[in-house]
Assembly symmetry: C2
Homo-oligomer: 372 residues x 2
């Protein structure tokens, strides 16, 4: 098998767990946050910078790479790792989330999804088999099964149909996938906000059997409490000896709550996206750096941070860069935000090790402003 | 004095010369190309990256920094070096070129230039004294006298008036400048395309006396041959024991022709600007990387280049980055172009050392496509 999961410790005060995932491109310590490199680049960053921040795996997007530059080109080049100069593990999504997000530009059938490109309107078709073909070309270490991520809210009837189709598609993905020694394929549990459907999905996907399981269709607009309730219900259904990946989660509170409920992996575009818009996360909460009040603030973004940005630059300088629209502003904020989440996960792992995760969460929430 | 120039060698086959400039922030080997960091950042680059390319001095802009974030803010911070985290030498221009470029937005009087900001239309006034005040606040190692750079073409009558005013302004700059131990102030020779006025300007500026001399008002749209003719005439008027700076020059041919005529320093925004637009300089000439013909080109930008970009990325990848508008594209092209010119100047210094500069020029011009 391409990957191997090792459970190292279960927390005594929650369902959190420490683990390791061995992949053909290196070891991932879990729980882990995965930076997103949508179009074969983590925006504004070089691979060496991403690695320097402590990232042990990045995510890239099947839909975007299929359209540009095309998966065959990347395969001809020798795969995504080589193309983008990242030698660590890569996880690719299935393209499902993106094509379903196209709304009226796509049509779902049992066979797959026909859609029009958001770039030039050209017509394309992605089936479970096509998604696997693309991901095989990309050569990611962890691939994802092609699924439907239903919007929130959605009716029981619609979600039930969707869950059952997602299970049939998962079967087709597994049957079509070649090269299990090089690339692992994860199944995705759906079921919306309906516990019985989460249970059905978990059972069906686990019956097919995968080396790892993702929980999809959460963090799609529902309240945090509802996500927690669904995680409380779903995670215990999953086997202990396989990694668990919660898709699309990246704010500190969602990360804490997910880890506490037994999640090992998470990803989100949020830290890099808000960075480019001038918002950084600090130990005291979010900070909109373009704000005039930072114009003459000669201190670093976060007194408790030792990233490259905080070690070398002031709020005044970074605000100036955003104010005059200089690329270095986006770079410095991206470095800081990614480091913030990677470091947070490192601290979380340490806290699990020392059996004080709930304590650490309380402390973090107070400082960050989640608890007033 | 803040700077000290040492003439190391004069070429036997041309007027080219090797030298060293000692500054409070380090030594500059000449001839040198200076990357431009207009608004306290070399666009898309960190200072460490700029240094890593071998840059020994950068240029920054008085006009832009005066408007945003303001020179007093930078002074309060402890100067431009600290503000932007660049510990090497900095040269600042006087703001003259930018305010004169504002066209109908400015009015020239003997006292100075009143202008409206290109950002918000607010009214400002820069005099020779104000320019020095701003540059004193910035704390650059080399400051420039406030001059008028006349457009090409310009009448003898207009240029004569302008030359004489520029001389009076140079006097006022020298009188007003404090802190000669920390900051050198260079005079600027003007005179348009008129030899008699170049001679008059050189005489007047040298009579005032500065630790270095710039030649302004060339490379403003005139043919290369005319610039060469003016340089052939003007450079010999300058003292041998002071550095000579040709302002605003940065294409390989202009750099070669300037160095061959005794120029020690040059700067230009061209390499970084065209990089962001997707054009790179290579040993075989310019290469527009967005061109479809590079879509499947898996070779590096330049087979003869050992920069970070060429060592790690293909044309296909860089084209993809530009195609999808990713910041890393601008970064990789900027790294390559700056390295190309810095390395060119290093090779030029080596060729002077070995008395084969004209030979090297011929070889370079053939490969680059200047000679067919």
């Amino acid at each position: 098998m391409a990957i191997e999961y090792q459970l190292i410790k279960e927390a005594s005060d929650s369902k959190a767990r420490l683990g390791k995932i061995r992949t053909p491109h290196g070891i991932i310590e879990t729980p882990v946050f995965m930076p997103v490199g949508t179009r074969a680049t983590v925006r504004a960053m070089t691979p060496e910078e991403v690695e320097g921040l402590g990232a042990s795996i990045i995510l890239s997007n099947t839909y975007h790479l299929y359209l540009r530059p095309g998966h065959k080109l990347i395969e001809d080049f020798g795969g995504l790792h080589k193309f983008m100069n990242w030698n660590g593990p890569i996880l690719t999504d299935s393209g499902g989330f993106q094509v379903f997000s196209l709304g009226h530009l796509r049509t779902i059938t049992e066979e797959g999804v026909e859609f029009k490109s958001h770039i030039d309107g050209s017509t394309h078709f992605i089936s479970p088999e096509k998604s696997i073909e693309i991901q095989n070309s990309l050569g990611s270490d962890i691939m994802m099964a092609f699924d439907e991520c239903v919007p929130y809210p959605a009716s029981h009837e619609y979600v039930k149909q969707s869950v059952e189709r997602t299970s049939r598609w998962a079967r087709r993905c597994k049957d079509y996938h070649q090269g299990w020694k090089k690339q692992a394929l994860f199944g995705i549990i759906q079921g919306g906000m309906h516990k019985d459907l989460r249970e059905q999905s978990a059972k069906e996907i686990m019956d097919i059997g995968f080396p790892g399981y993702a929980i999809g269709g959460l963090s799609v607009g529902e309240p945090l409490e509802l996500m927690c309730e669904l995680l409380d219900f779903t995670t215990p259904l999953l086997p202990k000896n396989k990694p668990r990946y919660l898709m699309g989660v990246g704010t500190p509170d969602y990360l804490f709550e997910a880890v506490i409920r037994g999640i090992d992996m998470a990803d989100c575009v949020m830290p890099t996206r808000i960075a480019r818009n001038g918002t950084v996360m600090t130990s005291q909460g979010r900070l909109p750096i373009k704000n005039a009040k930072y114009a003459k603030d000669f201190t670093s973004l976060d007194p408790n941070c030792d990233c490259y940005t905080c070690a070398n630059y002031s709020k005044a300088y970074i605000r100036h860069l955003f104010n005059v629209n200089e690329i270095l502003g986006a770079r410095l904020a991206t470095i800081h935000n990614l480091y913030f989440l990677i470091k947070l996960m490192e601290n979380i792992r340490q806290a699990i090790k020392e059996d004080r995760l709930l304590e650490y969460r309380e402390e973090f929430y107070r400082r960050y402003g989640y608890i007033k």
